[in-house]
Symmetry: C2
Subunit: 310 residues, 2 copies
């Protein structure tokens, strides 16, 4: 049986040994993994850890504010929020290919992050890697390794959660007193809302996507369905369709809702949600968000579909 | 109380008087209105009526064959099926604007129709106009009027159903012994599957749209839901999304399902269909039709959406 209290004690000791007197940096997304890694490291080395939140502009509604409030104000971490919204949007202008979009987001993210690390002279990079991350992606990998950032900076990597699985990370998060919002946060893709916007990413589509996801999360949580769903979100399709506003024919965006149940994300199925919840979400999206003509519900299991749209 | 038997008798007499010894032509779509108008006129003037079915290539699966079987083979009308598939597809190549697509389809349709009428020397055009058509579109319009086709041909218009409403037309259709398929046929848009294909109309999307609509109709009818729905159909969106086939990531089309209940098509709402029917349709579409990654269900009422997608 996994004992979160014991894990925390041992982990803090180990982090202290690994980092010594050096300065460390972590890219904190607010997801449960990076949050737990940051709080553990902060307990181990205090303000010698800098937690950096990069605001890509591809975040959910209120996310930068919320992460700042929790980690800087409530937990007292040495915390920095970098506003890089324009930089990401400019780099993404005109790009429609999903792979290309992912690559650009990854590249700009590392550029921004490396600039901060260089400025502060950190030597260690803390990462919230958990067991399935490295088992799935690389198989066996050395526990101790360095990473070379594209700009030439070399950092030693420390991964305090590398032997844990998601449910264990959540137990540790709870034991550390992290707020429920973080403990039970649904998985959110690295490139953020970008994978929920098909075709070119524009401010208009980004705004629709952000507001629609806020409505989906609010209604699903209000209906008490959040605990039984693996993921619940909205995407903006790259197609306009007709609608009517007043007496006027209107040509506007389509928002797709995605709700799935899953054990491990390898397969997933569409749950039979209550129709009143679905209809309430649909009505709120078309009435509260400008330029949305229709709301559709994805009714495809994985396989043959993936969970996210891109 | 509307008496279909009496209407048929009087209508036949009236048509005979109006047309006299001249030759007439009708564009027969297989919809209940044009079907009733054609059969009534055939009863009045026999083979002097030519019923023309223009195969635009934008028809539902098996439609040209079915209409030919019913009207030529079973009812013995003087019937001609014109294969104009290539002409329509060529005219639509590269066109994405929905208004533009509609205009092109209308123009090519009239061109094809006028060529046939000119060849045969018809003087009268029979139309299945019913009361809501002219009330909605033009207000008061003369009972007797001529129409000038773009190529210069002038035809006198005869509209035997202009005082009827849809439910009355269906009573007449039944009384005339038309098959159930025609009597209870759901409304099908003039431009055919074109309004169910967003963006450019290609043979690939047309094929997906035709097969998906056949699956939807088959499953809805098998589940006995056809009588309670105003319309049920599938559309192909102009967006690709990811899916997985085997272990391979796949980037393919999204099919949207549309089911609505309505009294008069002015407003419509999304019915709470059984989930097993929805899931069966979704599974059949992704497994039976190549190049479909996802199936989504439109959950937007009218307003704010329209019934069709374009």
């Amino acid at each position: 049986m996994f004992d979160p209290k014991k894990f925390i004690e041992e982990s803090i000791k180990e982090i202290r040994e690994q980092i010594g007197n050096r300065k460390a940096i972590i890219a904190l997304s607010g997801g449960v993994d990076s949050s737990v890694a940051a709080v553990l490291t902060h307990k181990a080395i205090g303000d010698r850890l800098l937690a950096v939140f990069v605001d890509t502009g591809l975040m959910r509604k209120g996310e930068p504010e919320e992460v700042t409030k929790i980690f800087r104000d409530q937990l007292g971490l040495n915390f920095k929020c970098i506003d890089a919204k324009d930089r990401f949007l400019n780099a993404l202008k005109g790009v429609t290919d999903p792979e290309e979009k992912r690559k650009i987001i990854g590249r700009v993210f590392i550029e921004v992050f490396e600039e901060v690390a260089r400025e502060n002279g950190e030597e260690v990079l803390v990462q919230g890697t958990i067991a399935p991350d490295w088992i799935e992606s690389e198989g066996k990998i050395k526990t101790h390794h360095n990473i070379a950032l594209p700009g030439g900076m070399v950092l030693e990597v420390v991964e305090p959660l590398r032997d844990l699985y998601k449910d264990e990370v959540r137990l540790v998060a709870k034991e550390l007193g992290l707020p429920d919002k973080i403990v039970h946060r649904q998985p959110f893709p690295g490139p953020g809302l970008a994978v929920r916007i098909l075709g070119e990413i524009t401010e208009e589509k980004l705004n629709i996507c952000r507001e629609a996801n806020a409505i989906v999360e609010e209604e699903i949580e209000k209906a008490g369905l959040d605990k039984e769903l693996w993921q619940y979100f909205a995407a903006v399709l790259d197609t306009k369709a007709t609608g009517v506003k007043g007496d006027i024919r209107d040509y506007n965006w389509i928002v797709a809702l995605r709700f799935v149940k899953s054990i491990d994300a390898m397969t997933a199925h569409v749950p039979e949600l209550p129709w009143d919840v679905l209809k309430r979400i649909s009505k709120r999206i078309t009435s509260e968000i400008p330029n949305v003509a229709r709301v559709v519900l994805d009714i495809t299991d994985k396989p043959p579909a993936t969970i996210e749209f891109e």
